[in-house]
């Protein structure tokens, strides 16, 4: 057994309104690739941010090579050799690769002059060992995402990392690039580096990792050896119950065709998109980040202008030039927006709920506040939103309640088609379930529903049919028993691009 390098013991971390980590114990050994899995909001990123010095824990201890440590800043963690390769790369586009690699530790002489030659040489060595085809003096902003990621990984080599944490690294990589990355990870492992690998993708986890720890709602559900485990076991640990109990598929009668899309194209983003949605149907769109799903939704909604294609909505050919038009015709889009959840955080619940539909409540441009309050209260009860009143700033509410407001906002106008883009991202399990239930109710009420999601269990659980997208194209359609994780992954992994 390899030596334990980093241990988190009874780690607790709280944020206003939510306990992100609850007495989590987790250890990483040298020369292993340890997967950390869990749904969005399970606490994976939080745990890693604590271990890499970005957050301070509220309880518990960190042990590095047997010694108790506290990190006051990421720099201190980095000095010990713990490096986090962010999900959102933290590079500065204007600086060179070498400058980014050594950010915060640039070699200078007495007068503050950069010792460029020395830095470039060392950076080159790191880049070469990763098989990079570019040099240290390249401006990072001009590199592709995959190459930028290499720069960020080179940082770990440059600092002689003993622990490297990868947070969802393969989001926009092609198959070739992913394989390159895995080779790098393997060589790091051989060198005795301890690697933590956070990912949603089962296939990758089973390809490259040695052990898997599953988090759910901020608590550890177990640690297993990869080769002794299975997708089913992991999924069960992640979700806590069987898929059927957790998700709600609508029991609705499918009616008329509400939306028909033909050959929709937006230069550079997506093309050849054709599908249709019927009333009462829940169509899921699954794909990896970067597949172009949100862009399709935005184009349908009028927030982006298409390059080509025909859209027929409720029997009428339409070409929305702004969301306003789409809304008036009966379309609703709940956008994917990590921070604001589609709400204006600085305004109250009442304002947010009625914003898209003010003209329904207004005479001569003056909204009738009584009517607004009536609507607000109606949805507050229906969706069980916990808020102190119509004027409480939505920014003060929990993620789950915020998302309920988002739904209320769109539903109070009785749309014919509603598109939900990642509707439960970052939300606690209880609220997730409520939202899924509500989506089912929408379909049962006769709405046509499109759910865009990158969480497989979710999209399989709520959809009648699933479309898969990759690199801007539709690559598959599944319904009924065909909707399995295996099929979905296979469909989106066939990427036409070479590196």
């Amino acid at each position: 057994m390899n030596k334990v390098v980093l241990t988190a013991e009874s780690m607790t971390k709280k944020f206003p309104g939510v306990i992100a980590l609850n007495e989590v114990s987790f250890e990483i050994r040298a020369g292993e690739v340890h997967a950390l899995m869990g749904e969005n909001g399970a606490g994976k990123s939080t745990l890693m941010k604590v271990l890499s010095g970005i957050y301070n824990p509220d309880g518990g201890a960190i042990y590095y090579q047997g010694e108790r440590v506290t990190f006051a800043s990421p720099k201190e963690a980095r000095d010990r050799g713990i490096l986090l390769v962010h999900q959102e790369l933290s590079l500065s586009p204007e600086l060179t690769a070498a400058e980014n690699i050594y950010l915060g530790a640039w070699p200078t002489n007495r007068f503050g002059v950069l010792q460029k030659r020395k830095m470039n040489e060392q950076a080159k060595a790191a880049l070469d060992s990763l098989g990079c085809d570019f040099g240290p003096e390249v401006r990072v902003g001009s590199l592709s995402i995959a190459k930028q990621q290499m720069v960020e990984i080179a940082r770990t080599l440059a600092f002689n990392a003993t622990v490297v944490i990868f947070d969802e690294p393969t989001g926009t990589l092609t198959v070739t690039e992913k394989n390159q990355l895995f080779q790098v990870i393997r060589s790091l492992r051989e060198r005795g580096v301890a690697i933590v690998y956070i990912s949603h993708k089962m296939d990758e986890i089973f390809e490259i990792t040695d052990r898997i720890t599953v988090l759910r709602d901020g608590e550890v559900q177990g640690t297993v050896d990869t080769q002794d485990s299975s997708i089913g076991e992991i999924t069960k640990k992640m979700i806590g119950r069987d898929l059927d109990q957790y998700f709600h598929r609508a029991q609705s009668t499918v009616g008329r065709e509400v939306l028909k899309v033909s050959q929709l194209k937006k230069a550079g983003l997506f093309e050849d998109i054709s599908f249709s949605v019927r009333a009462g149907e829940v169509v899921g769109i699954y794909g990896l980040i970067g597949a172009g799903r949100s862009e399709v939704a935005e184009t349908l909604f009028g927030a982006r202008q298409r390059s080509a294609g025909v859209v027929i909505f409720e029997g009428e050919e339409v070409a929305f030039s702004s969301p306003r038009e789409a809304i008036e015709k009966g379309m609703a889009l709940v956008p994917e927006d990590r921070k604001a959840q589609g709400l204006i955080l600085g305004l109250g619940g009442r304002h947010n709920t009625t914003l898209p539909h003010l003209n329904r409540f207004s005479k001569l441009g003056i909204p009738n506040v009584k009517q607004e309050l009536a609507v607000f209260n109606e949805y507050k009860e229906k969706l069980e939103i916990k808020t102190t009143g119509p004027e409480q700033l939505v920014g003060d509410l929990s993620g789950g309640n915020q998302q309920k407001f988002v739904l209320a906002k769109w539903l109070c106008a009785d749309p014919k088609l509603i598109i939900l883009d990642e509707p439960t991202r970052g939300i606690d399990v209880g609220s997730k379930s409520a939202i899924h239930q509500y989506i089912a109710e929408l379909a049962e009420r006769g709405l046509a529903v499109i759910v865009i999601s990158s969480e497989m269990p979710e999209v399989i659980g709520v959809s009648h049919r699933i479309l898969t997208m990759a690199s801007g194209r539709l690559v598959g359609e599944f319904s009924g028993a065909e909707m399995t994780e295996q099929n979905l992954i296979t469909a989106v992994s066939v990427l036409p691009k070479a590196s």
Binding site: F301, P323, E328, D337, I366, P367
Partner: protein, 319 residues
């Protein structure tokens, strides 16, 4: 250093008023004329013009943007109304001025709202452009109103109603209308939402580009109104008459507590901010300080006001 929630809220809401009240007391003691109704009315009359402009700029600031062209706009529009008064008569001159103000606002609004250029730079450019246009129009000379004593044009700047100067009526009246629009109309909601989160607003069906353009149009209109009052009062205009107004307006809005980031703020905050600035300046003059001391005090007051507000919001004195 952490401050308790309650103390924070109190400071945030009332801190500035407290400080201002103390200032008023101090000045009243050393200069008894300060609290005479005559003087108070005088001050409010003086701030009416700046205040009128500030009402318009408040709309722009709530959408998260700036309008630095108002000073040169004021100069140009005042010159315009005075000159045209002699050419086509007061009525038509005033209409032209209002139209011109709105047009300039629309141009600003087009560049900032539709082309999405940086508001600071665009309005600075407009500042320069307008100075040039003013010079061109006036030929470098000052203009004066003919028949200054008899023309009914004088009512706006020099008239009185129930012993209150007309500029004050106009200012407060406009403030009431502006406040109503902001707080009670759909358009006002849109202003707040665009400032609060532009992309969410867009996705909620708000025509964000038009809202921004409208905000600038309002700013231009307000400046036009101010120009009419100014021209009426002074009965003439020099090429530099509006210089520096954009700074005072901004200072007043900042002092009132409206956030430069947008999404919040009210008309009454602006009214209070501008008035405070006016009283501070007046008080200093009465205390015998030369006019440029005001500038120094304005600097200190702005820094303190914004710092206190920020500190109260985040609970810490230092960042």
């Amino acid at each position: 250093m952490h401050i308790s929630q309650d103390k924070r809220r109190t400071v945030q809401r009332h801190g500035l008023i407290f400080a201002f009240a103390i200032f008023l007391v101090v000045v009243s003691f050393s200069s008894p004329e300060f609290v005479t109704p005559g003087n108070i009315l005088n001050v409010i009359r003086q701030v009416s013009i700046t205040g009128m402009i500030a009402l318009g700029v408040t709309f722009v600031v709530i959408t998260g943007r700036l309008d630095l062209s108002v000073g040169s706009m004021l100069t140009f529009l005042t010159v315009l109304v005075v000159d045209q008064h002699n050419q086509v008569g007061p009525g038509l001159a005033m209409l032209m001025t209002l139209a011109a103000g709105m047009l300039i606002g629309v141009v600003n609004g087009f560049f900032v709202g539709f082309l999405k250029l940086n508001a600071l730079i665009v309005t600075l450019a407009m500042l320069s452009l307008l100075q040039g246009i003013t010079l061109f129009y006036s030929g470098g000379s000052n203009v004066n109103v003919d028949n200054a004593q008899e023309t009914w044009f004088g009512f706006f700047g020099r008239g009185e109603l129930f012993n209150v100067p007309m500029p004050v009526w106009f200012f407060l009246g406009a403030a009431a209308i502006a406040s109503f629009v902001l707080l009670r109309t759909t358009f006002g909601r849109w202003i707040y939402s665009v400032g609060g989160n532009e992309s969410v607003s867009l996705f909620s069906g708000v025509q964000t580009r038009w809202v921004v353009l409208s905000a600038y149009l309002i700013s231009g209109l307000a400046t036009g109104l101010a120009a009419i009052i100014m021209g009426s009062r002074v009965m003439g205009a020099q090429n530099t008459i509006g210089q520096g107004y954009e700074l005072t307006v901004l200072a007043g809005i900042i002092l009132g507590g409206t956030s430069m980031l947008g999404g919040s703020g009210t008309i009454w905050r602006t009214v209070i901010g501008i008035s405070m600035l006016g009283f501070v300046q007046n008080g200093l003059l009465l205390l015998g300080f030369p006019y440029y001391i005001q500038w120094l005090v304005t600097w200190v007051v702005i820094i303190l006001a914004v710092w206190i507000d920020l500190a109260a919001k985040r609970g810490k004195v230092f960042a």
